[in-house]
């Protein structure tokens, strides 16, 4: 699972979605792998406005990448090739291969195996 994906998922439990603590989900025991993806500066520039920056900072911190700027890069900052390359590496190339995503509200842990997170709920949570 790519780091960017964590910015677009939340707990599958209905009641959790309206609670602030269900986003972002928290990585536990994450095993990371770097997988090369073609660098498209335009793509990064276009998708950054759709990123929840606070959420991404939380995720990055939990995965051990503490160096994200406090505010989301905008305008001129998004023309800096190095900034875009760094974000590309974090968002698209950093893969969580094994581990768990844990909801801060209900505590349910979604398993990530061989790079795929599984959001199917056990029947008592449906």
């Amino acid at each position: 699972m790519k780091v960017i994906t964590a910015n677009f998922v939340t707990c599958a439990v209905k009641e959790c979605k309206t609670t602030a603590t269900s986003f972002p989900l928290h990585f536990h025991d994450a095993e990371l792998e770097l997988q090369e993806v073609d660098f498209q500066p335009e793509f990064i520039r276009n998708v950054i406005p759709r990123i929840d920056w606070e959420g991404l900072r939380t995720t990055a911190n939990e995965l051990g990448f503490p160096s994200l700027p406090e505010t989301k890069p905008e305008g001129d900052a998004l023309t800096n090739e190095q900034t875009l390359k760094d974000l590309h590496r974090l968002l698209l190339e950093t893969q969580v291969m094994e581990g768990k995503l844990v909801c801060g509200t209900c505590g349910h842990a979604y398993a990530i195996k061989e790079g795929i997170a599984n959001f199917l709920l056990p029947s008592h949570l449906v």
Binding site: M1, K2, I4, T5, F8, V9, T10, C11, A12, V13, K14, K17, T18, F23, V37, D38, Q40, E42, F43, R45, N46, V47, I48, P49, R50, L92, Y110, E114, G115, I116, A117, N118, F119, L120, L121, V126
Partner: protein
């Protein structure tokens, strides 16, 4: 129980036939292709019931979180960059409300085995799509379902035929001296106008709809919420 029924007659079958199913599906259908190409660069969307991910090859300038109930299919779909794939259930999507710029669900809702669950599936996807405001149009959701009216197809069904059916999938294995294995998947065949009715009932507004390749399709957006009385 409807969910158990679907587990046996839909999910299990796709787990079994994932490889063969994927090898027979290469290209997005024309209206799906047009819809995805029309999304502006940097848009973020969903492909619910992505199958082998054939629709993920259409537009590399948007980001799609694809999901499928079958882990075997999700694993095949995950190769398509720059997108991402997860395993999820259409009735419990792991996504926030009112967030996504677009969504597609192609040939998926017809696997839900009761009228309530079919409406619920549409409602669950619409929940995740950005509603329009006074100044900005809402996000769009493209949905396809198999049509009852397809008398010129290989299957030959038409108006008046049963709508809830089991459709065989025959898998010939090359390694097994051409031995055949048949799996049956449950389908609900949509009659004309049914998809639009389901969308309305799910709280959506139909923007466009039509018929393509033995399927009914519709593009919908979440209905704007009524203004709170002041």
């Amino acid at each position: 129980m409807a969910d158990e029924y679907e587990q046996n007659h839909v999910h299990e079958v796709y787990q079994q036939i994932a490889g063969h199913f994927s090898a027979t599906r290469f290209k997005a259908w024309p209206i799906v292709e047009q819809f995805l190409q029309a999304q502006s660069p940097g848009s973020v969307g969903l492909d619910v019931g992505c199958g082998n991910g054939k629709n993920l090859t259409v537009n590399k300038d948007v980001f799609i979180v694809a999901s499928d109930r079958s882990e075997n299919l999700a694993r095949i779909a995950m190769q398509h960059q720059p997108h991402s794939t997860v395993v999820a259930d259409i009735l419990q999507l792991p996504h926030r409300d009112a967030f996504f710029d677009f969504a597609i669900s192609i040939a998926v809702v017809h696997h839900m085995s009761t009228p309530e669950r079919r409406v619920e599936a549409v409602a669950e996807i619409l929940r995740t799509v950005k509603p329009g405001s006074g100044t900005e149009p809402g996000g769009k959701f493209l949905v396809y379902a198999w049509a009852l009216e397809q008398k010129d197809s290989r299957r030959g069904w038409d108006k008046g035929d049963p709508q809830d059916i089991m459709v065989p999938w025959v898998r010939k294995s090359k390694s097994d001296q051409g031995q055949e294995q048949t799996f049956h998947r449950y389908y609900h065949l949509y009659e004309e106008g049914e998809l639009e009715r389901d969308i309305e009932q799910a709280g959506g507004q139909v923007l466009e709809s039509g018929y393509e390749k033995d399927n009914w399709w519709a593009i919908a957006t979440p209905k704007p919420k009524p203004k709170p009385a002041s």
